[in-house]
Symmetry: C2
Subunit: 264 residues, 2 copies
């Protein structure tokens, strides 16, 4: 627990995700860290915490003792006292967890339209996240990279040359369209949302996975890399988190650095 | 306009999606049709309606005259009178559109927990939808199937053998866990939600794309194919829609029937 975290005024949030990597759990962590919300990161904080991750995605489960359906996959978020009859509630699916949390921790938009765009832009950033995953696993998630490397070379070329510019160009235009309120720092309105933290993490992953490609492209997206990226990184709560040991380095998760998949 | 549609008590909903195919627009159509909600399907209903689809995803747009950001991709939904200062609101991203509509047309859950699971299960069904798309386009969305057929054969085998059973098994368990309230007919609670209509369409697409694979597998999932699938299909509003010409047949969209990609 960091000293910068608020004392608990919210229900205890328990993140259930694989230990040791940022992964999709990171999108939930960033939302908590940006708002100083207290949470536990079970599998990273206790030795047998991974048992709780495995239990919530048990492939024989139909419903748990608290009345919650099982999660399809991590991350999941357990919120004590917020479920049926005051029992723990179990949330799953990254964008659905963020949508639930958004209002409660002040990272959704100000009105109904803004709340929609925060969710919609988040989904778009997560679509890019998934496409980057597929650059090293285009054929089978459960097989080794080395067994699909030939296809990965083709997929990575397409994602780098066609898809990344399409997504970055889109977000650059969103920042420009919202410049009067957001000054290039926020995708929606005039304050930080979970769309910003989500996009920021995807951009940081792209820099890790494809350093040459991104170095060549960044200057084409002034708002995105000149204003948005450094601004989110300096945001109160995130700055401290990113400098801490709680922020796990990218390694062999969604974002991987295989030099052969980068621009040559 | 069908005679079974309610007269307008809701704001005019304008669906913006490619004409002639179900595609991702179908998830929005099914939500409207299941609830008798009036909507226009611009590109299917007027000859130059496709111009409105192209305009909302214009790759030079930053913000429209009504204060809406552009959509990353279709479908989008324009709702007259619900945007900033009473102007039209433009929604995008299939699950975000459904999340917005859910409460308004009575297809979200009953309480906060149920609303979350409706969104989360919808996202999971849409993940399967995306994986099926990738069976015929594993390398590059913008290239022809014929130019990635070798990789498609590998990808389709993995999706059929590993991924489809994982997703179907999950939803079978969700139906079983909710059987006391839903009787196998609903994923969440005791009435139809947009999670049900979304999963139903994905299952119908799987039957079209992989008829041999699905015929061999269906009997393993009693709740899903014995109760849920036929029940949703007979739901008031959907039954009439599915028998109408408004329901476009599957062809060369997300779900495609290439016999060589099916079980041999």
């Amino acid at each position: 627990m960091s000293a910068t975290k608020k004392t608990r005024t919210q229900p205890p949030y328990e993140l259930l995700y694989w230990p040791g990597i940022p992964g999709r759990g990171e999108f939930i962590r960033l939302a908590f860290e940006a708002t100083g919300t207290s949470y536990t990161d079970t599998a990273n904080e206790s030795k047998d915490g991974i048992q709780a991750v495995l239990a919530m995605k048990d492939e024989n489960a139909t419903i748990d003792a608290d009345g919650n359906p099982p999660a399809f996959a991590p991350p999941a978020l357990r919120i004590h006292g917020e479920g049926k009859d005051g029992k723990p509630l179990l949330l799953y699916q990254t964008p659905a967890i963020l949508n639930y949390l958004g209002d409660k921790i002040g990272l959704a938009g100000e009105d109904e339209a803004d709340k929609h765009w925060v969710l919609a832009h988040t989904l778009t950033a997560l679509d890019l996240n998934n496409e980057v995953h597929d650059t090293h696993h285009p054929i089978a998630t459960a097989k080794y990279y080395e067994d699909q490397k030939e296809e990965a070379l083709k997929k990575a070329a397409d994602v780098r040359e066609q898809r990344i510019p399409k997504f970055l160009g889109y977000f650059e235009r969103i920042l420009k369209g919202n410049a009067a309120k957001g000054g290039g720092k926020y995708l929606v309105g005039g304050k930080l949302s979970y769309a910003d933290t989500t996009l920021w993490h995807v951009l940081s992953g792209l820099k890790f996975a494809f350093p040459k490609e991104m170095e060549a492209r960044e200057k084409e997206y002034e708002s995105l890399f000149g204003t948005f990226y450094p601004s989110v990184q300096e945001h109160s709560g995130l700055k401290e988190y990113l400098a801490s040991e709680r922020r796990k380095p990218f390694s062999m998760g969604i974002f991987r650095h295989y030099p052969e998949l980068d621009r040559q």
